[in-house]
Symmetry: C2
Subunit: 304 residues, 2 copies
DNA sequence: GTAATGTCTTTTATCGGGAAAAAACATTTT
DNA sequence: AAAATGTTTTTTCCCGATAAAAGACATTAC
């Protein structure tokens, strides 16, 4: 077994959802762009759809025969890429109790535990290292630096530098820039969410990411844009295992965003600076308050 | 052939240089720390040294029998790690003419050309991606973003933000901090270099890196410290293939550093800010002026 | 003749294996 | 008994091989 066919399975599932409305499917290249996969994969999907009686396929003719049933879908867990599986597994360990700073990370052990090859684990760790939570000892193991208070402070320091600068660049963008349309759309979505916050508070984090990414992109600096990956990753996993006060937190944040958006639309740099600072300050507070006390120091276990 | 023994060969060569003075070698663990390798490797080194008649080895007794001769050394090219070989090879292509933005990077082709396995190339590309010069298309090839004017500007923008902040943190460090001693040492080395600049101008880049890293460390922020890797990498390779005006450039930079050091020692934030800005501005100019005109835009060849 | 489909080739993602290097354990020496 | 040496085990690094997926080329349909 060398490579799982999760790309095919995931695309197949997404294609099933495309099915029920339209009575006939588009051309193979079109489906490919739609699903974000190659034509090779599209043809595998169509082949299976024909086999299972979902469509009738004859060259350009792809007629939908029936609506998809639950059993037509591949199980969700088979659609994840190996990288996602490893990441989740690793983050679970990292944020679990007992993940002390200074701890060694063993590639082989990780690979065995997750049930994957060492190559995939190695590649994951290399990719993950840019988040600043682990460090490699040459020709030897990785060292966990730990999700500590220090980490959170260093992360937010950079975030604040970058976002203040991006926000300042944002207001300097010309009137006809596409960002203003995007900003209007985000404002509408924020208002909708605010009005139904009780029921939909858990939808905030996705909106949060889109909003901040829009601002960061205004910097036109790849290092600033890329750094948001670090922030997004941390927030994503951190809040996934820390739901305390989530509703209250998100309600406050939505209001702060709306004030921030209003400031951006005013195009007054001073107002933007103030609104941005206010929001980032409370975001930092939220992150810091959720770091368990026992994780602050972490004596550095320095192996020979 | 699965893994080259370059760690052993490199450590062996370094150990040879340790030999000629002392008439007897220290214990195995001590040698290990000295050379930065495990005892296993130390023992391989000692074994060969005994074989080739360099030492007499009997348990704790490691008597040097003769001074090392040129032919005792392993060839330099056999002491490089695979990662270094791939990096050099890749950077040569990248900075060579014809490396247009948008160009595809083929793992297999690279591996074949360099004569290594695909795994090593993949790992290199993943590690390299944080420099912002390449980007991965999921399940597909990498795309070269190119060493363009835009890249240089984005890089220097971050560098300036980070260094100004680090320099400000530097002067706030307590009087008894070890950094002041380090700074004094660097000042002496700068003065020595300045006085012999005609003969030693090519030694500047190493000094430059140590100086800026010292300042960046004052930020106590891992993201700032790590970012210097990007800067160092770019400067290292860029100047390696661009020696124009090198002497003149370095002479100016040494003087700027001395002014910068004086400002730091004055502990006056305003003076530091001014000296830092001045130096970074000329560093940026140097970098920008050395980017060939033809490399500025680079139409994005966007594959399906 | 453009755009689709059909077929073949190349590349990427991933595994298992094996040598180099590190690390752990056992034994000796001072 | 602390620290060295001797020995064994484990882990890292790297390759070649293989299925999945992408991409290229050839052929057909409109």
């Amino acid at each position: 077994m060398s490579k799982s066919n999760n790309v095919y399975k995931d695309a197949f599932n997404r294609c099933l959802r495309l099915l029920d409305e339209n009575k006939s499917l588009p051309s193979e290249p079109e489906l490919g762009t739609l699903l974000g996969v190659s034509r090779t994969t599209v043809r595998s999907i169509l082949a299976r759809m024909e086999e299972t009686g979902l469509i009738d396929w004859n060259k350009r003719n792809k007629t939908v025969l029936r609506a998809p049933r639950p059993e037509d879908f591949f199980p969700e867990e088979e659609t994840d890429s190996l990288a996602e599986i490893i990441e989740r597994s690793f983050m679970r360990r990292l944020l679990a109790e007992g993940a002390e700073a200074g701890m060694q990370i063993n590639e082989l052990e990780l690979a065995r535990e997750i049930g994957v090859g060492t190559t995939s684990v190695r590649e994951f760790l290399i990719r993950f290292s840019r988040f600043g939570l682990i460090e490699k000892r040459r020709n030897s193991h990785w060292v966990l630096k730990g999700f500590t208070r220090a980490f959170a402070l260093e992360l937010t320091e950079i975030r604040e530098m970058f976002e203040l600068r991006s926000a300042a660049a944002f207001v300097a963008l010309p009137e006809d820039s596409a960002v203003w349309v995007d900003l209007d759309m985000l404002e509408v979505q924020h208002r909708q969410l605010a009005s139904e916050i009780a029921a939909r508070f858990n939808e905030f984090s996705e909106l949060d990411e889109r909003f901040h990414r829009l601002i960061h992109r205004a910097s036109h600096n790849r290092f600033i844009v890329d750094f948001y990956d670090v922030i997004a990753m941390i927030f994503h996993y951190h809040y996934q295992w820390n739901k305390a006060e989530e509703r209250q937190r998100n309600e406050v944040a939505v209001q702060e965003h709306l004030a921030y958006i209003a400031a951006l639309k005013s195009r007054d740099p001073a107002k933007v600076d103030a609104a941005c600072r206010k929001h980032l300050k409370s975001a930092r507070q939220t992150l810091l308050s959720s770091i368990p006390e026992g994780r602050q120091a972490g004596r550095q276990v320095q192996p020979a």
